[in-house]
């Protein structure tokens, strides 16, 4: 199984752009969509993001995966906001969420985690004199992104096991093994990092 937002090897301009620059652009885009209120502008940004998927030559199955999960989320947000604030506001909120998440997904699809970690380390290097350890924060970012995949894999296996025992509706049949396995994974990961010399300074 492929959890959303996984690196997809490629050689497009977006793949080759420096990770730091892409990350800064992503932050600007996220700030912009939350500042803008006009559905027309937000729609234009969404269209631009879709265009960027084309420029990055993201395989169709990946696009379909992103589209599917965003559609589910957007529908949920739309219904909720419609009920709370009315259709106009709901559309604006939906477009914002779609634009920001689609762009963030594109970032992870076109950027190696190793490059993200290096960019974070480079960007934080000036803070070294204030006692910040950029390599530690870089590692934290890398492990966070990796944890998403690890936890979704554990969740899928636990769900499968619960289904095999006919307990797919039981909350405890999912939650207990999921927690146990997550904690064990954390233990093993910590041990592996220590063995690889992380934490030796």
């Amino acid at each position: 199984m492929t959890p959303g937002g996984w690196y997809e090897p490629g050689s497009s301009p977006l793949h080759r752009a420096p990770a730091g620059g892409k990350f800064a652009a992503l932050l600007v885009l996220a700030a912009a969509v939350f500042a803008l209120r006009s559905p027309a502008w937000l729609g234009a940004i969404c269209a631009a993001v879709v265009l960027a998927y084309g420029v990055a030559r993201v395989p169709l199955r990946r696009c379909a995966g992103v589209a599917r999960s965003l559609a589910v989320l957007a529908a949920f947000v739309f219904v909720l906001q419609w009920w709370l604030l009315g259709a106009g506001q709901a559309l604006v909120v939906c477009l914002r969420v779609v634009a920001a998440l689609a762009a963030a997904n594109l970032f992870t699809i076109t950027t190696r985690i190793d490059d993200v970690v290096s960019a974070v380390e480079g960007g934080l290097a000036p803070l070294r004199r204030f006692g910040v350890r950029p390599d530690r924060i870089g590692l934290l970012v890398g492990l966070t992104l990796r944890a998403v995949a690890a936890l979704s894999a554990i969740a899928a296996e636990v769900r499968e096991a619960a289904r095999a025992r006919g307990a797919q509706r039981s909350v405890t049949a999912f939650a207990v093994p999921f927690l146990v396995r997550t904690l064990r994974h954390a233990d093993e990961l910590g041990e592996a990092l220590a063995a690889r010399g992380e934490g030796d300074g």
Partner: protein, 224 residues
């Protein structure tokens, strides 16, 4: 040279190891024993993941619980489950992650990682998501990531337990070809043909310490 001097270990009341005295200088050493015999704990002491509660361990004269950093630079460790050992999303990145500590520039890290993967039969998988590799490939990747730092000693804690027969054989063949001193904790007794020395551990004690054949005969007698 790995030395255990009257090493003991207990988790609270539960004693897992007592009076272990070993000097391991052979190139291929195996620890064999039942589940819970203490063999994994003993292996973890070699790179300081576990500190002995009595006695001491020395690796080339260094104490892993005091000079952990120097020892871990010499001793690589491969775990049973590669999924918890692989920390980065793609195979190439995971090997490059090891090289990060060597202070190499990014491009060189990526090139060295790709070369190393190719050497161990994972050429072309550098950009492949690590979690989508087969079990055997994952364990080879975990091995590559450890070998990237060129350790003098390699400790493997039941690295073949999750592998099928073909991949078990392949993995042990890979280990056989390494120049490193290898300490292998295992249950796969058929794979120890080429080993120099087999240490059998039972109930927290060394009960046999010999060449593979007599040591394994002793172990088989013990469990039947």
């Amino acid at each position: 040279m790995i030395e255990f001097e009257d090493v003991g270990h207990s988790y609270g009341e539960r004693v897992v190891l007592t009076g272990v005295d070993l000097r391991l200088a052979e190139r291929r050493v195996a620890f064999v024993g039942a589940n819970g015999s203490g063999k994994s704990t003993l292996a973890r002491m070699i790179n300081g993941l576990v500190a002995p509660t009595s006695g001491r361990v020395l690796v080339d004269g260094l104490d892993p619980s005091r000079q952990g950093r120097e020892v871990r630079r010499r001793v690589g460790f491969v775990f049973t489950n590669p999924d918890s050992q692989i920390v980065m999303p793609t195979a190439g990145e995971d090997v490059a992650f090891s090289l990060r500590r060597a202070g190499l520039p990014r491009r060189e890290r990526a090139e060295r990682a790709a070369a190393l993967l190719a050497e161990y039969g994972l050429g072309g998988y550098a950009d492949h998501p690590a979690h989508q590799l087969s079990g055997g490939q994952k364990q080879v990747l975990a091995l590559c990531a450890v070998l990237a730092l060129d350790p003098a000693v390699l400790v493997c804690d039941e690295p073949t337990t999750l592998l099928d027969l073909r991949n078990k054989r392949r993995f042990v063949e890979l280990l056989g070809g390494l120049e490193q001193q290898v300490v292998l904790v295992t249950h796969d007794l058929d794979l120890l043909g080429g080993f120099d020395r087999v240490v059998v551990i039972d109930g927290g004690r060394v009960v046999a310490d010999d060449e593979p054949e007599p040591a394994l005969r002793h172990y088989r007698a013990l469990v039947t």
